[in-house]
Amino acid sequence: MAVMTYRDALRTALIEEMDRDESVVLMGEDIGVYQGTFRVTAGLLDRYGGKRVIDTPIAELGTVGAAVGMAMAGLRPVVEMMSWSFALVAADQILQNAAKLRYFSGGQVSVPLVIRGPNGAGVQLSAQHSQSFEAFYAHFPGLTVVVPADPADARGMLKAAIRGQDPVIFLENASLYGMKGEVAEDDSVRPLRGARVVRPGTDVTIISYSRMLHLALAGASMLAEEGIEAEVIDLRTLRPLDLDPVIASVERTHRAVVVQEQWKPFGAAAEIAAAIYERAFDHLDAPVERVTGADVPMPYARNLELLALPHEAEVMAAVRRALYGKPELASEHISPTRV
């Protein structure tokens, strides 16, 4: 095993796949000469040349559209979004072409395309650069939505995404780029499906993904000091959404908390909670709790920004609410519902 950052894990995956397959090309704004806003593509222009590492104009719609055309004609483009907030202008190409081409061509066309970049809030980037789009993309059939939480998944799942036959929305997180973790020395590809238990527990199930997974884990550690053993599940992909480990866990713990950075209405947690109600209703001892971002555009001021983002304390409070009716664990009485 080697220890590397999430950023280097992504970069390693790009290098390994570009070395392996000449049809892999990179496109994006300032990924070449500038070395990439988050340096994920640093040095790759020198290594592969301008024909394979394409600095694009600031034109996300045109770039993604051209990448779709390249993919249809035999290449495997990987498009970097400097921020997923900029991908809104490319939505027509992602949703109307990439996601649907296989279907409306009667299976004649494949679009092996990866679009990757940071999703979610950074630090004081304010309203137009801080938002989470995972539920938006996970709504559309034809897309695969990947939300890796650690370097090993970042590398292994990016490699799988590049080798696949369908468009992949690969959602990274700016505050994870510096995170270190163990990554296999070999050329390991990780399949783009399969939630997994990252912390076993018996009292409550916390479900999350991407950066919020670490919030869930931090909350779980602190709860353990109070004698509450939370099981934490990393979804890893939102489409496909593998809920089997979630249901199996809830059948044991009877309580669930979903943690997302997104706004609460119509977010990923709503879908996950609904699925738990559908599949494990009789096993539940409390309503499924949701920990989410505040329902406001992201403010600039640091104190307000921190208030707008989910916090460990909110995870802990949600767990305690979910433990309602289990007084030996709930250290204080809290109403099972909240506004």
Partner: protein, 351 residues
């Protein structure tokens, strides 16, 4: 170009064209006669599509190519195996001209499993990948970036193939057009963007005329803003289209640079089958334009050259009508997609 300007420009062209020789097309007399047959097939097919819509056999939207046939006929005549073709939703003729079986096209419009896209695409999404047709697209201008990227891929893979991108005059005001053209201009400098953009300027973006939707009505000239060379051609005169297409495609193939041809044409039918009133144009204007029916013009030239006579034209027409009738029969007798197809082809098959 405004209608009046266009009329003047076309009148000048007619003087040159209609009496001119058949030379310069790069095709033999036999090949030209075959093209007449293909063009007539496209016309008869579209006439039948309009009827089938009225009979309720075709659902949704259907946009026919009647009046514009010389454009696709001329450009596709000079394609080579491996060339790629992208177009908008007025795509039936393009499929037929690429050699797609008329029965498979009609079956697609009828929503049958034997259709080119297995009944999943319909009129606006005809695909025939083996013949290079990478689609009919329903979002105006949305296919222009695709064609541009596909052209890059062709040259990246060191092929000599090119991409043909048909677009309407109405597709030039949307962001996708401008973003794609800017990249085409950039990539073309490196010889990495062999794409021929063919503007099928039928004078109307649905019901909004060119002078009402484009601040600059010389549409070809707008490609100049992105460093893409451009010219115009009389899109009703197949011989002129063939001559121009031959040179343009050879140039794109050789240089790897994008090129634009604006074909000035006219749609005789409504925008779609639902466009009944056509309040945006007069009957007189349509009648005037029909005097330059591309089929009649081409027939006249072939006759003048002694390549066709009345009897042969009748025979070719009978053949076209028969093939269309067979296509309808095939579509009628084909089964709809099985219910299991609902969930098929959303993702690649696993394994």
């Amino acid at each position: 170009m405004a209608i009046t300007e266009l009329a003047q420009w076309e009148r000048n062209r007619v003087l040159e064209a209609e009496s001119g020789p058949l030379e310069g097309t790069g095709l033999t007399e036999e090949e030209l006669k075959a093209l007449f047959g293909q063009m007539l097939l496209a016309r008869r097919f579209e006439e039948e599509v309009e009827q089938a819509c009225r009979r309720g056999q075709i659902g949704g939207y259907a946009h026919v190519y009647i009046g514009q046939e010389a454009v696709a006929t001329g450009f596709l005549a000079h394609r080579r195996p491996g060339d790629l073709v992208f177009t908008g939703y007025r795509d039936h003729a393009h499929a037929l001209l690429l050699g797609t079986d008329p029965g498979a096209v009609m079956a697609e419009l009828f929503g049958k499993v034997t259709g080119v896209s297995k009944g999943k695409g319909g009129s606006m999404h005809l695909f025939d990948v083996p013949r290079g047709l990478l689609g009919g697209y329903g979002i105006v201008g949305g296919h222009i970036p695709l064609a541009t990227g596909a052209a890059y891929a062709l040259r990246y893979r060191s092929t000599e193939n090119v991409c043909l991108c048909f677009l309407g005059d109405g597709a030039m005001n949307i962001g996708a057009f401008h973003e794609a053209l800017n990249m085409a201009g950039l990539w073309g400098r490196e010889g990495l963007c062999p794409v021929l953009y063919v503007i099928e300027n039928n004078q109307y973006a649905m019901g909004t005329s060119v002078e009402r939707h484009s601040a600059v009505t010389d549409l070809a000239s707008r490609f100049g803003a992105y460093g893409v060379e451009h010219e115009k051609v009389d899109g009703q005169d197949l011989v002129a289209v063939l001559q121009t297409a031959r040179q343009a495609l050879a140039s794109v193939r050789e240089t790897g640079k994008p090129y634009c041809l604006e074909a000035l044409t006219y749609r005789f039918s409504g925008h779609g089958v639902a466009d009944v009133t056509q309040a945006y144009r007069t009957k007189q204007e349509v009648e005037e334009q029909k005097r330059r029916d591309p089929l009649k013009l081409f027939e006249a030239r072939l006759r003048a050259a002694g390549a066709l006579d009345e009897a042969r034209v009748t025979e070719i027409d009978r053949d076209a009508r028969q093939r269309v009738a067979e296509a309808v029969r095939f579509a009628e007798e084909s089964p709809p997609p099985p219910p299991d197809d609902l969930y098929r082809d959303v993702y690649a098959e696993e394994g």
